[in-house]
């Protein structure tokens, strides 16, 4: 199943990342996962949070540019080369991977990855056929 990720555009200058995180913190929003892609000039913060609607609203109120994107959140199998198993499944389906980032949770031992695919539906199909553990929004909320 697909999960909504929130992306925020920030200029690569002091205090902007902090400001965005403060906006979320002040609104009582929990950040489950976070990654930053940046150039020398700007950055994109990608976030999995507890309440997308509220997060979006609060960020927009503070003049941030926000976008929601469909991603997949997968638990990495507790085996050697766990991540490769996942990537092999996607390769088999010839599904292009745009980016991924990993995070861990206190509740499970496993690492969890957020994956952005060119074709989300197809990716879900191949991962499910390969018995990968896809997390739902509810699973994420309970992490």
């Amino acid at each position: 199943m697909n999960i909504k990720q929130i992306s925020v555009f920030i200029e690569n200058k002091e205090g902007r990342l902090k400001k965005a995180l403060e906006t979320l913190g002040n609104a009582g929003i929990n950040i489950r996962a976070l990654s930053i892609a940046d150039t020398t000039k700007f950055g994109i913060i990608r976030l999995i949070v507890s309440d997308n609607e509220k997060a979006k609203q609060q960020l927009q109120k503070d003049n941030f540019i926000v976008k929601e994107t469909d991603v997949i959140v997968v638990e990495i199998p507790d085996k050697p080369n766990g991540l490769s198993i996942i990537l092999d499944l996607l390769d088999k389906g010839e599904i292009n991977l745009e980016y991924l980032y990993a995070f861990t949770s206190n509740k499970t031992e496993q690492a969890i990855v957020v994956i952005k695919l060119e074709d989300v539906e197809k990716g879900i199909k191949y991962l499910e056929e390969g018995n990968a553990t896809l997390l739902s929004q509810e699973d994420i909320d309970n992490l």
Binding site: S7, E11, T39, F42, R46, N63, F64, I65, K67, Y99
Partner: protein
């Protein structure tokens, strides 16, 4: 007047200039003071070229004379007053005698005639009526010609369209951007150009482009002509375009034009681009001597294919106060804006930052990102920056460094955007 032999005209202009200078010196303390400061007397004007000895008048001068300090006649002789909007400070006031209004009507009547207008025409005048010179200026011109003027003023598009259809107006007068808006609404409502009866439009009061002209002509089925003027000098009608569309004929029997280099203030030759300077040579209420318009144009005295001998100025492409010289190339913020408008989903909120790290000028253009173009993928964002840089390069011929910045992050002073930051040191 419009087809007068050039030598006869020069003689005529000299006489009028001498009278104007004398009147201004004797009746307006501002001019007396300014002339005395540099030791020039009205008698020093012996030929037209001597105008270069006279001091310039700037918008600041007019502002400091607010409200009636520049009037050269008793207030009882003033029959009408207009002002600028005063968006960047105190407004400037323009006072007209009965004869001034007649002259104003005359020069605008020329514009209407150039647009094929006669007393049989119905002019839908959607320039704003009021202190703004657009509405009443066109009104006086239509009146002078004997045409029917519909003083509908600006706004209320539904009513405009109803009148266009019901009265079968033949000439449209408004700003080019409003004409464009009207055309779009007509299109949206399924009203064909055959349902209305427009044959021409006289558009001015803001800068516009040849591309806009083509679009207006196609959409409305009209000839779209440019009109130029400014409140400080008289209002619209200083220069008006004929159907040849190769520049705007300056009514130089009333307004004497010069082109100067805005930095050195030296008068430039025919065809050279520079700042337009205007001197009124017939105005009674408020003569203006060597007014610096800040508008960039060039002038040709070559006889026009339409037969008129009046000088023609090229379409105004920029203002001296926002002109930049980058690596020797002249760049106007309006060009950057035009490039940005070509990209879907982009807001034209930008800032140009000029630096000279070594010996070469560098331009950075900061553009505010928008929700509609923001992507969570880096390569797409970099693609957008590249595309913006490409469009700007096409427009100005110089490579620029584009940076996307957060929305509403660019400085605005009193609601007006600060478009240019020049960090170069020229001393």
């Amino acid at each position: 007047m419009e087809t007068m032999n050039i030598d006869d005209k020069k003689e005529h202009q000299l006489k009028l200039l001498q009278e104007t200078v004398k009147k201004a010196y004797e009746n307006v303390p501002f001019y007396k003071k300014k002339f005395d400061e540099i030791g020039v007397k009205p008698e020093d004007i012996k030929e037209l070229k001597d105008i270069e000895k006279l001091p310039f008048t700037t918008k600041t001068d007019l502002r400091e004379s607010y409200p009636f300090g520049m009037f050269a006649v008793n207030e009882e002789e003033i029959v009408e007053i207009h002002t600028t909007s005063g968006t960047t400070g105190k407004p400037t006031v323009s006072g007209y005698t009965e004869r001034d209004i007649e002259i104003w009507g005359e020069v605008i009547a020329r514009a209407i005639t150039m647009a094929d207008g006669t007393k049989k025409d119905i002019i839908q005048n959607c320039y704003g009526y009021g202190l703004f010179t657009g509405g009443l200026g066109i009104h006086h011109g239509g009146y002078k010609l004997g045409a029917t003027v519909i003083p509908i003023s600006a706004g209320n598009t539904n009513r405009q369209i109803e009148i266009l259809k019901d009265f079968q107006s033949t000439i449209l007068t408004c700003t080019p951007s409003y004409a464009m808006y009207l055309a779009e609404v007509l299109e949206k409502e399924g009203i064909e150009k055959e349902d209305i009866n427009l044959k021409s439009g006289i558009f001015g009061a803001e800068m516009w482009t040849e591309e806009m002209r083509e679009e207006l002509e196609r959409k409305l089925g009209i000839i779209a002509l440019n009109i130029y003027g400014l409140t400080e000098v008289i209002g619209p009608g200083v220069a008006t375009e004929c159907k040849i569309k190769k520049g705007l004929h300056i009514s130089d029997d009333h307004f004497y034009p010069e082109i100067i280099n805005s930095k050195t203030k030296k008068t430039l030759d025919e065809g050279q681009k520079g700042e337009l300077v205007l001197t009124t040579i017939t105005r009674e209420g408020m003569p203006v001597i060597r007014f610096r318009t800040k508008d960039i144009t060039s002038i040709t005295w070559e006889k026009c294919e339409c037969g008129r001998t009046t000088p023609r100025m090229s379409r105004v492409t920029g203002r001296t106060d926002d002109m930049l010289k980058i690596r020797g190339v002249i760049v106007f913020p309006s060009q950057i804006e035009r490039a940005l408008l070509k990209i879907d989903g982009l807001s034209p909120n930008y800032q140009i930052i000029v630096t000279r790290p070594g010996n070469l000028d560098e331009i950075e253009v900061k553009v505010e990102a928008t929700e509609s173009l923001f992507s969570d993928e880096m390569k797409e964002m970099e693609e957008i920056e590249k595309n913006i840089a490409l469009q700007i390069h096409k427009e100005i011929g110089i490579r620029v460094d584009v940076s996307l910045v957060e929305s509403e992050s660019l400085p605005r002073s009193e609601g007006k955007a600060v478009r240019v930051v020049d960090h170069r040191k020229f001393d």
